[in-house]
């Protein structure tokens, strides 16, 4: 029989306001095994923990139940506390009477009753707990960063600076990401590529950083400290080492009609290309889908003109396998597709563009060499309308429920830049709210309004209709003056919502990292662990976690790096001792469990089994505790119950069921 102490936390009034804590203490004292019960306003406080430690020593407790907040919050706290007091940490269980009880129920009697039942279940479980010892696993001192945008670049640099090896995997032919497409940045209006390029150079020349561009993560196995990752290096068709980056091949390439993704398909590029001038590495790739050599077998111009002999049509995709201790996800974002917002005529008129397209138009290296002009007739616009929140803060299923966060500021930036460079262009912005929380942000917005006289109208646009004369008729409302507005525009710019890179689903599945309904990766804790995934060893950098601007992205990238460094600095990690365990006396050797194990942690071997009346060599299951992550899928597959999960054993879970159903 265990000697169990029950500690009921008030959590200030968080629990005590709805749960009669004293009554819980009174009633749990009669549960089997309970020799001590007490309550305290804050169990997690130093004093609270002291009480637990004292009781463990004085009452020779063999088990502890803390009735408090979620075990996801403080289980580790109380386990550490118990361990310091000499009790095996796995003899501690938490009954969640806050999130699962006091916070959701109003009736005191009902909540108290439920709290007692939840405590009872935890007590029943502890009665069957056994001390468990955490094992150790080594840490591979190398990190993987998925995504080579500003988030990935910053994280990689910070990790590398601490002395650890980092690999960056970037899907496109060059690192740089979304930021490389931007013209200027708010609120300082400095040139995006001017501040990004030095970072790109730094990352490409850093001795600790290896960059795999035109590559994708193909497979991930393992666990924190010891991931094994297959990286697919797509065939570039150009030898990275031989190419000098002279660019002749691109000039001579006869196939020049390929839509240019980097310029948001506003113009075209050659089939052999580097996405932009500052690309790192400055080595082109052959777009095999459009290359005449690959399509028809007849061309080979680039190969002929390449003096370095770098073009290699025979190159194959290559899979490299590497081990990592930590993985950072920095896959960034894209803007949403606008097919559901056809009232803005995006598909009907080339003069209705997205803000990202405007970035390229405004950029000197863009499709118009930086001249502001309509894409239809290349004439300069006279009247421009910006529409905010296209797909953001959207109540219906067409768009996103969240605020994309960056649009208010970049629209102010665009309006200001246009008014500055082309003072005769009238700029009107339709907005729901203008959100400017950030250093120097509101000042920036006010400059747009006050100094540059951008016409801000609070209200939404209902329709943009292309007119026969090529202009656009914009119909909207002014909510402040409460009137309908109809105006003519030459260009309409849509602030389309941003969404996580569509590849994130596949990546999250590979990493077993959880993802929210909007496809942003979930943090381990929304406030306290915002750069970690709940999956150990997976870290979040940049917009993959939620909408952010550049300074926020860079800060978070640094934070993620710190977490990675903290992990890589350890030589060994404590492993979760809640692993599967096979009772060889009962094991049939049928392999059913091995068939469902996602980690290959179960192997079979012939082993001598001894028991009453039994002494024979049998084929039985063996669990490799270093690989087992404790999911328990095997236990559900095992018919006899030979395979059980420590810490969540069949008997323990059944005793919880019984306690609840009493």
């Amino acid at each position: 029989m265990q000697r169990i102490g029950v500690f009921v936390c008030h959590c200030g009034t968080n629990i005590a306001a709805t749960v009669d804590v004293k009554k819980v203490v009174e009633l749990v004292r009669f549960e089997p095994g309970v020799v001590h019960a007490e309550d305290y306003p804050y169990m997690c406080s130093e004093v609270g923990q002291q009480k637990i430690a004292e009781a463990i020593k004085e009452k020779q407790l063999t088990g502890v139940v803390v009735c408090s907040c979620s075990p996801r919050m403080h289980e580790a706290t109380f386990r550490n506390c118990a361990e310091k007091a000499g009790l095996n940490p796995y003899m501690v269980e938490v009954a969640n009477i806050r999130e699962h009880c006091s916070w959701i129920h109003k009736d005191m009697e009902e909540a108290t009753k439920k709290a007692v039942i939840l405590a009872r279940a935890a007590i029943a479980k502890v009665n069957l707990n056994t001390p468990l010892q955490a094992g150790e696993s080594p840490v591979v001192k190398r990190a993987l960063v998925i995504g080579g945008g500003i988030a990935g670049i910053q994280t990689a640099i910070d990790i590398a600076e601490a002395g650890y090896k980092v690999d960056i995997v970037e899907k496109t032919p060059s690192i740089g990401g979304r930021m490389s497409q931007l013209d200027k940045t708010f609120p300082t209006l400095d040139c995006s590529s001017c501040i990004l390029t030095p970072k790109m150079v730094e990352v490409s020349t850093h001795p600790n950083i290896t960059i795999h561009t035109y590559s994708e993560v193909d497979k991930v196995s393992g666990f924190v400290g010891n991931f094994t990752v297959d990286i697919k290096k797509k065939a570039r068709s150009v030898d990275l080492d031989k190419c000098t980056g002279c660019g002749v091949c691109q000039q001579k390439c006869p196939m020049k009609k390929v839509p240019n993704e980097f310029n948001r398909e506003l113009n075209t590029r050659s089939a052999i290309y580097t996405p932009f001038a500052q690309a790192v590495p400055n080595v082109p790739v052959i777009d095999r889908e459009h290359c005449l050599m690959f399509k028809t077998g007849k061309c080979g111009v680039c190969s002929k003109v390449c003096q370095a002999g770098a073009v290699d049509y025979e190159q194959q995709d290559e899979i490299i396998t590497e081990k990592y201790g930590a993985i950072v996800v920095a896959t960034g974002f894209d803007i949403i597709k606008l097919d559901k917002y056809d009232e803005y005529a995006y598909s009907q008129s080339p003069d209705v563009i997205t803000s990202l397209e405007l970035e390229r138009i405004m950029n000197a290296a863009g499709p118009t060499n930086g001249h502001l002009e309509r894409m239809s007739d290349h004439k300069p616009p006279k009247n421009m309308v910006f529409i905010q929140c296209v797909g953001s803060r959207c109540a219906d299923h067409r768009g996103k429920s969240y605020c994309s966060k960056i649009c208010c500021m970049y629209t102010a930036k665009h309006a200001m830049l246009i008014r500055d460079k082309y003072p005769d262009v009238n700029v009107t912005v339709f907005y729901i709210d203008v959100r400017t929380p950030g250093k120097n942000f509101d000042e920036f917005y006010r400059r747009a309004v006050e100094q540059y006289h951008v016409n801000y109208i609070k209200g939404q646009v209902g329709k943009v209709a292309p007119q026969p004369d090529g202009s656009l008729l914009v119909q909207g409302v002014d909510l402040i003056d409460n009137k309908q507005i109809v105006m003519n525009a030459d260009m309409v710019v849509l602030a389309a919502a941003i969404e996580p890179n569509p590849d994130i689903r596949k990546i999250a599945t590979m990493l077993t990292a959880s993802i929210d309904t909007n496809n942003f990766l979930t943090e381990a804790h929304a406030k306290l662990r915002p750069v970690e995934s709940p999956t150990a060893g997976i870290f979040l950098s940049g917009v993959t976690q939620g909408p952010k601007d550049i300074p926020e992205t860079v800060s978070q990238a640094g934070a993620a790096a710190v977490k990675v460094i903290g992990l890589l600095a350890k030589d060994k990690l404590k492993t979760n001792p809640c692993t599967a365990k096979c009772d060889v006396m009962m094991c049939n050797g049928c392999s059913t469990c091995a068939n469902v194990c996602p980690y290959g942690a179960i192997t079979y071997e012939d082993q001598e089994v001894r028991g009453p009346g039994v002494r024979e060599v049998r084929r039985v299951a063996q669990v490799n505790v270093a690989l087992c992550q404790g999911c328990g899928a095997c236990t559900g597959a095992c018919p006899s119950g030979a395979m059980d999960l420590q810490g969540f054993s069949n008997r323990q879970l059944i005793s919880e069921v019984d306690a609840i159903c009493r």
Partner: protein, 147 residues
């Protein structure tokens, strides 16, 4: 039959929630103060794939009126595939319970992510209503447990 003083039927509902998604979803429901009836009692399991059919029948044996299993959405399992196995196991088990004449509304599987506190709460509210409409579980359950 468990009744409150005003004669309303209060069902007993056992919810198995996976640690990574649904238990966290329930925590979020809690911290967002999205209420659902106290009839629901949650048991934390590492993964929906950990839920053994024995546990479910055990709950019914001991007098549960409804059992719900919550796990990560397909594709999002913390352990890659646990919820896929759970999905097949539970589909077959529920089908069998339906086949022997147990009301099929008494069992349910719902995928709830860590971010779906609202869904967790809504699911539980809905499930409790469903079980209330079905009334007490008399077709399963061991009479001795009434003593």
């Amino acid at each position: 039959m468990p009744m409150t003083e005003n004669g309303e039927f209060r069902p007993l509902i056992v919810a198995f929630c996976c640690n990574w998604c649904s238990y966290a979803g329930a925590d979020l429901a809690g911290s967002s103060r999205l209420s659902y009836p106290a009839d629901v009692k949650i048991i934390r399991v590492p993964c929906s794939g950990r839920v053994n059919p024995m546990f479910i029948l055990r709950a019914f044996e001991r007098g549960a009126d409804g059992v719900i299993i919550c796990g990560c959405h397909p594709g999002d399992c913390h352990y890659t595939s646990g919820n896929y196995f759970a999905r097949r196991r539970m589909t077959l088990l529920f089908s069998m319970l339906d086949y022997i004449g147990v009301e099929n509304g008494r069992t349910r599987v719902e995928w709830v992510s860590a971010a779906e506190g609202a869904k967790f709460s809504a699911t539980m509210n809905e499930f409790v209503e469903k079980i209330k409409s079905l009334g007490e579980n008399v077709r399963l359950g061991d009479l001795r447990c009434k003593d």
